[in-house]
Symmetry: C2
Subunit: 296 residues, 2 copies
Amino acid sequence: MDFAERLHRRIRDVDSRVCLGIDPRPSLSELTAPERLGGDPARVADAVVRYFTTVLRATHDRLACCKPQAAFFEALGLHGLEALARLLQVARELELPVILDAKRGDIGSTSEAYARAYLGTGDFAADALTVNAYLGLDTLEPYLDAAVRHGRGLFVVLKTSNPGSADLQDLRLASGELLHQALADRLTERAAALPADGAGYTALGAVVGATYPQALRELRARLPRSVLLVPGYGAQGGTAADVAAAFDGDGAGAVVSASRSLTYLDAHDETDLGRAARAAAGSMRDDLNRALAERT
Amino acid sequence: MDFAERLHRRIRDVDSRVCLGIDPRPSLSELTAPERLGGDPARVADAVVRYFTTVLRATHDRLACCKPQAAFFEALGLHGLEALARLLQVARELELPVILDAKRGDIGSTSEAYARAYLGTGDFAADALTVNAYLGLDTLEPYLDAAVRHGRGLFVVLKTSNPGSADLQDLRLASGELLHQALADRLTERAAALPADGAGYTALGAVVGATYPQALRELRARLPRSVLLVPGYGAQGGTAADVAAAFDGDGAGAVVSASRSLTYLDAHDETDLGRAARAAAGSMRDDLNRALAERT
């Protein structure tokens, strides 16, 4: 089954549009703090796997998907990448779709290698991957090939939630459009040639930050065939009302991610952690659903 | 010592501007071919380490630096990343500067995590990293912090060598400039506030493909404080005359990379391989030096 179709079926089944961000920052919890584990990278990585396994088991039936952030695993070195492979396995066992947030982008055979690494069948296989299109639309083709062949997805970074996102993404073009709008149009053009699910969504999604609600609304209209991945909710300042604009009239077409606010909670043991994470995921699910219901 | 200063000192010492690209594609050589190694990922990764260790030992005194491409290691899974860590160690032992080509790019604390992963002291520590600035100029700051503090470098992708590089990089802005030119100006502005070596170069470099000589010439002038990393030489079509424009009047300010043409050679054993790689690196070094001498 195609990625968009699987994701939408799950959104309906669990009635949740929450994407749980997995950003391991060991020093943020006493359960993984390096100084309590003798600073041993192998023990820290083990603790990270235990920590996020607890979170995933406690929350998965309240989640549309999860989103490990590659950078935080890479920062923990080889043991960190082993932890990533183990957590991908945990998500697979829970049948929870995984969007690997790695924002890869390169040309030709290098792009093919990234597609093999993350949309293939190896240690780091995920259901979808975030990618950067600055290098050109041709660089997306290897990911799209893998996506169409194996029912995976990709999310192209369009408009991010940081203050500096305007530096390039909002540059005004001679055509009158902003750069990220022109990129959105190119993606829509490309998506027109891809297989779509019942609601018209394809494997070619986009990343649009929660902190620019006006852009979110505008891009939802511009990208009728793309699922939107919306980070920046919670700790970064986006509210449920802000992100409601990312969804179509049926409450489909987007997932909203949060990391710290769902995973780094006041918890002194794993039971605490599971309980707190489950409650946080439930609140976010309900907040999003309420904001959708209250849309005019 | 700063990265630019170290690199320039080495360019003078070995009289070479060659950057050897390490793009492991195991099926391209009988010495690493998976079907000859029972398809075992651990044995393939070991063979890759042996292969490129042979290449590095045979060529290092003819190289300015080397450039492992992260994608090809990631495509080999956990064993591939262990191979990367081992080859980084080999380069360190040979005192050969390493530019890790990973084109990372993300925001805030995620960007900090990438800087820690690749410009820190862990398993994947390199001398310099390639990065993607589409997400904004603020996203470069964690790399610049690490670069200035620890004498490392970064190379921002400006103009790539693929046919689709025009899709975004050459979009005409309302200001009249092309997108990649506007980005170059922002980098020059930022570089003005960074410490420089004797020739005025800073830790903030740029990636400019060899296949667009006109852009190369133009960007050399626009980026007086940035070392240029020039891929696309050889297999991708850039010639020595094309890339001569990347260098300043003293033959400094750039390195030119090639991968396949220096590393995947007709070789049936390691002795063959070392001899062929040494010859190929010597020819490329001489071709570049000749093109520089013949510049008018």
